[in-house]
């Protein structure tokens, strides 16, 4: 194919091929990423007989090169001559599936799974299945772990004898000597179960699941939990009680907190898989225990699930279950000793109000919200405030406003600037829910105070906040309440505050519209062009560039242009630069 076309077309490919073994990793990586170009130039025949054998042995390279190679080979079928020859890709991927680096192995397995679909049923049994068996009985755990991910893709497409062999291999790997292989098998158990016939799920998978779920290593047991969820979804309701539930119950009470954590973390999936009856009888008490677990990590995971769990409870008994079983546990968690537990709860507890309705919320939940709003950890308070919209829909925010205000004020003055930053970001949301009157009365002064915060990130967020407030309350409100205060800062003795005025104008000009900008803001900006601090002056130039599009052309020509021209002759280099930039952007030259 190539060759006959002469040197010019060969040269770039020759460079690429040579760079496959360049000393510079980056060049090798580039070359590997263009492997399809090389293969195309070599043609399918030479790709199969020369390029792939070379790549098969190139497993000594850096991880990132191997990762790129593993990925490339997944879409190489056309380049080796189509599905008929796809098996030629197996040797290099097989060697990549045994390297020590997990990401490379996983990528090789992913590519193998992809090309398995391009094998004909015959090729699958002749080429692909033997590879899986070789990996499954390899000396090193790396190859055996890779095999675990390949059973699922070939099983549905092979004859029943081969199916039996595959099941046997999977069984062997589930009782491997090394925990690494048992972990891999455990994590693929659910996926493998999905492709098995229901009878074999009951006869093969269930015993394996039971064994893995009582493995001596908790790192294996915790992975079995997820498999249990998948298996439960496959079985008919009447078999669940006998086949899966004993093991899952045991997992929820495992001695190791990591296993219990996994159960808590997968609780909503589990709930969906086992259905309403088992949920009522088994999962509710299990969930109560997890909420009361002695390990804070487990309580945190369970607290995160409170809302989703309650939402998915069967409708007929939802309210009773929540009120009698879940709420008492939630009440305890509100005063938990661990801040992460409380913070996880605070992020979901507001969601319960929509489920429980107005009366229950006022009677039972509101006191909890109020306690959390006074929590010693800012994250807890923030999480409550950030979810206010849920309560607003049910009972209206007024019920909370008495406690809300002190909480907001305290967060707004927190010593940690990240906390202050977080509360600023919720301000527009709060303003929308509390209404303009409440805002003007209580929160406006806070918003203005942030403009002179000593941390730049806060001042920046505060200007952005003003813009969002104006979007919400309108230009007229802006003109009456915030614009005068912002413009007043232009005479401040601190140049940082004077600059804040400019930043605010940048943010506000568009939402305030032409009239306010021209009449009120522009004069102030222009006046500041004679400021003694160069930083202020060049920010005047930038500000003018920014608000220019809002102004009409007469104002631009008559007022802005002379000022910018003067700034363009400033002795400070930066001022000059930004003035010239503004002149050219606004086309005033």
């Amino acid at each position: 194919m190539a060759g006959a076309e002469g040197d010019d077309s060969l040269y770039p490919i020759a460079v690429l091929i040579d760079e496959l073994r360049n000393e510079d990793v980056q060049l090798r990586l580039n070359s590997i990423k263009k492997l399809s170009t090389i293969a195309l130039a070599l043609g399918v025949e030479r790709t199969r007989t020369e390029l792939l054998p070379f790549l098969t042995d190139t497993i000594y390279d850096e991880d990132e090169v191997l990762l790129a190679l593993a990925e490339q080979l997944g879409s190489f079928t056309v380049l080796v001559g189509g599905p008929e020859f796809v098996h030629c890709l197996l040797p290099p991927l097989e060697s990549l599936a045994t390297v020590e680096e997990t990401v490379v192995r996983d990528k090789a397995v992913e590519s193998l799974r992809k090309i398995s679909q391009e094998h004909s049923p015959v090729d699958l049994e002749v080429h692909f299945v033997p590879l899986v068996k070789r990996l499954a009985s390899g000396d090193w755990f790396t190859s055996r772990t890779s095999a675990c991910g390949l059973f699922g893709v070939c099983y549905p497409r092979v004859s029943s004898t081969v199916k039996a062999e595959i099941r046997q291999h999977f069984r062997t790997l589930c009782s491997d000597d090394t925990p690494m292989v048992r972990r891999a098998a455990s994590s693929k158990l659910g996926e493998f179960a999905k492709v098995l016939e229901l009878d074999y799920v009951k006869s093969d998978i269930i015993p394996l699941f039971t064994a893995l779920a009582s493995d001596e290593q908790d790192s294996v047991r915790l992975l079995a939990v997820e498999a249990g969820v998948s298996i439960a979804a496959l079985l008919p309701q009447e078999d669940l009680e006998d086949l899966v539930m004993p093991t899952l119950r045991q997992a929820a009470e495992d001695k190791s907190w990591r296993v219990r954590y996994m159960v808590a973390d997968k609780f909503s999936e589990l709930q969906k898989a086992v259905g309403p009856e088992i949920t009522k009888n088994d999962l509710v008490p299990a969930f109560q225990n997890l909420l009361k677990d002695c390990e804070a990590e487990v309580r945190t995971a369970a607290a995160n699930k409170v809302k989703v769990f309650c939402e998915s409870l069967p409708e007929d008994s939802r309210e009773t279950i929540i009120m009698t079983h879940i709420l008492p546990c939630v009440k305890e968690l509100v005063s938990d000793t661990n801040q992460h537990v409380k913070s996880a709860l605070a992020s979901v507890i507001m969601g319960l109000s929509t489920i429980l309705g107005k009366d229950n919320t006022v009677e039972h939940l509101l006191p909890l919200f109020l306690v959390q709003l006074k929590d010693e950890y800012p994250e807890v308070r923030l999480n409550i405030i950030s979810n206010l919209d849920c309560v607003n829909e049910v009972i209206g925010i007024r019920q909370l406003s008495q406690s809300l205000l002190p909480a907001i004020v305290e967060l707004a003055e927190d010593a940690k600037w990240r906390v202050r930053l977080a509360i600023i970001e919720y301000m527009p949301l709060l303003a929308g829910q509390l209404g303009v009157e409440f805002f003007d009365e209580k929160l406006n002064s806070l918003c203005m105070a942030w403009l002179i915060d000593h941390v730049y990130a806060i001042r920046e967020a505060a200007t952005c906040n003003l813009m969002k407030l104006v979007e919400k309350f309108g230009a007229e409100w802006a003109q009456n309440t915030i614009v005068p205060k912002v413009l007043g800062m232009a005479n401040d003795s601190n140049y940082l505050h004077r600059m804040t005025t400019l930043f605010c104008i940048n943010a506000l000009s568009e939402v305030c519209g032409q009239e306010i900008t021209t009449k009120h803001m522009l004069p102030v900006v222009l006046k500041m062009s004679t400021d003694q601090v160069a930083n202020v002056r060049f920010n005047v130039a930038r500000c003018l560039q920014k608000i220019g599009p809002v102004l009409d052309s007469s104002a631009l020509q008559a007022e802005v242009k002379p000022v910018l021209e003067k700034l363009a002759t400033d002795q400070d280099m930066d001022v000059k630069y930004f003035a010239l930039e503004a002149i050219s952007v606004l086309a005033l030259a």
């Binding site: 091929i17 130039a41 090193w140 090394t178 908790d218 907190w257």
Partner: protein, 466 residues
């Protein structure tokens, strides 16, 4: 009395100016003894899981790996610089390159993996063999000269050709910035995906694939450093149970933690501590009771701890006293004052089990090391020094006497050289081969072969009990 161990090889690990590996010429030993560079002092010794490889780390930050030849001798397989001296600009502290510990990972694939640590940073190394080389460039010939472009008419794919075996060590992971104090131990978990690193006050748990975060599982740092009463001296995972770890402290206690119970292991599951007889209490009691090493037995049933004067075997099921206590150098009881003045009392001796947990070994002063047979209760003192370790020579037991010499070969306590100490020892996991580090020398001893080529069972012969 003859002893069953004989010298397999002794390797002066003087890697500068060149790597010297000599086994026969005693003059050369002497020469190197005189010019011993402090950087060459061996700081850790560790066999891998099969015993085919032995790794040593030194004060100069180097790791030397030995491979066992089919004939049974160990030869240098790979040498690499694991750590370099660094400077912590924030704390204005120099960070030494000295390798504090080496731990091998269970075998993954044909390559070998080990963790090495200095005071602050743990590194994962891969040691692999390469025996093929790619050949054939399109644009250059094999000497690297550019080819005439007009001669290139077809594309050439490189081919792999056999070449001389090349052993490469490459750093795979660097686990840094997690320790405010000096790392004293690392230990790989039996789940083969996590390991711990312990410093004076904290123990961190790492995932072998994740370098940017670790979990703090034990924290002894008090709110106020003036309340500090103990430091962590060693920490080790249980060989089979992935949730158990033991750590010992300067107060002479060893704690067993169950990671299943809580995410933070500040509360221990068991505390192994022997009540000190109040009548024997002295100024030095606490110093000499500080545990300098802890090793789980291969069976996982026992804990071996070493303090300044003794080694103790604890049954995991009995916390209040050790099941066995062996005196390492009881004759130093009267010398503690001068040992304190010379700082020797703070020396950290390691201890080790043999492959079947039947014999215990630990180091002492004067280049002596001690072995205790747990079944027969016999013990022996042997010496690792150039003068006695002639190749294939059988080691003779030594005796230290407190009073008058009873025999010609006895050594008086007063003539012991406290600068010569054996801190680091290792025992082959399956066979009776031991590695002893004495200053910059590594001695490897093997059990004498019986005429039919089999190894003797470990049998310690010493003076018959009086």
């Amino acid at each position: 009395y003859s002893f069953v161990l004989f010298c397999l090889c002794s390797v002066p690990l003087c890697l500068r100016p060149m790597q010297v590996f000599t086994k026969t010429k005693s003059e050369i030993y002497l020469f190197f003894n005189l010019v011993c560079d402090p950087a060459d002092v061996i700081s850790t010794v560790e066999f891998n899981q099969t015993g085919e490889f032995l790794a040593t780390g030194d004060k100069g930050g180097r790791v030397v790996i030995f491979q066992r030849e089919p004939q049974g001798e160990y030869n240098v397989y790979s040498t690499f610089q694991s750590h370099e001296p660094e400077f912590d600009y924030l704390k204005s502290l120099e960070i030494e390159e000295k390798i504090n510990k080496i731990r091998w990972l269970p075998p993954h694939n044909p390559a070998h993996f080990l963790l090495s640590t200095n005071d602050k940073t743990v590194k994962l190394w891969k040691v692999s063999e390469k025996d093929k080389r790619a050949e054939g460039y399109n644009l250059r010939d094999e000497e690297g000269r550019l080819k005439d472009l007009s001669t290139i008419t077809t594309l050439q794919v490189p081919v792999l050709r056999p070449m001389d075996l090349l052993v490469e060590a490459s750093p795979r992971r660097v686990f840094a910035n997690a320790h405010a104090y000096h790392i004293n131990s690392i230990s790989v978990n039996s789940d083969c995906e996590t390991y711990l690193s312990a410093d004076d006050l904290r123990i961190n748990l790492w995932h072998l694939n994740i370098t940017d975060r670790s979990f703090n599982i034990v924290d002894l740092k008090p709110e106020n450093m003036e309340d500090l009463s103990e430091v962590i001296t060693v920490a080790e995972f249980h060989p089979h149970h992935c949730h158990l770890l033991a750590f010992s402290s300067s107060t002479g206690t060893t704690r067993l933690c169950d990671m299943r119970a809580r995410a933070l292991c500040d509360q221990h599951a068991k505390l192994f501590e022997e009540a000190v007889d109040p009548s024997r209490r002295s100024f030095f009691s606490e110093i000499v009771s500080s545990v300098s090493d802890v090793k789980f037995s291969h069976s996982g049933r026992y804990l071996l701890t070493r303090d300044y004067l003794t080694v103790k075997v604890w049954d995991l099921n009995m916390e209040n006293k050790p099941v066995e206590t062996y005196q390492v150098h009881d004759y130093l009881q009267t010398k503690l004052c001068s040992l304190y003045e010379s700082d020797c009392i703070f020396d950290k001796f390691e201890c080790t089990w043999n492959g079947t947990d039947s014999v215990i070994m630990t180091g002492a002063y004067n280049n002596y090391f001690r072995m205790f047979d747990r079944a027969s209760l016999r013990d022996v003192t042997l010496e690792a020094s150039r003068e006695v370790c002639k190749r294939r020579a059988v080691l003779q037991p030594r005796r230290v006497c407190v009073g008058k010499k009873r025999k010609e070969t006895d050594v008086s306590v007063d003539s012991l050289d406290f600068r010569k100490k054996i801190l680091h020892t290792a025992w082959h996991p399956k066979e009776n081969i031991i590695a002893i580090a004495a200053s910059n020398n590594l001695y490897i001893f093997q059990d004498r072969l019986t005429p039919n080529g089999h190894h003797n069972m470990p049998e310690i012969q010493s003076a018959p009990p009086k």
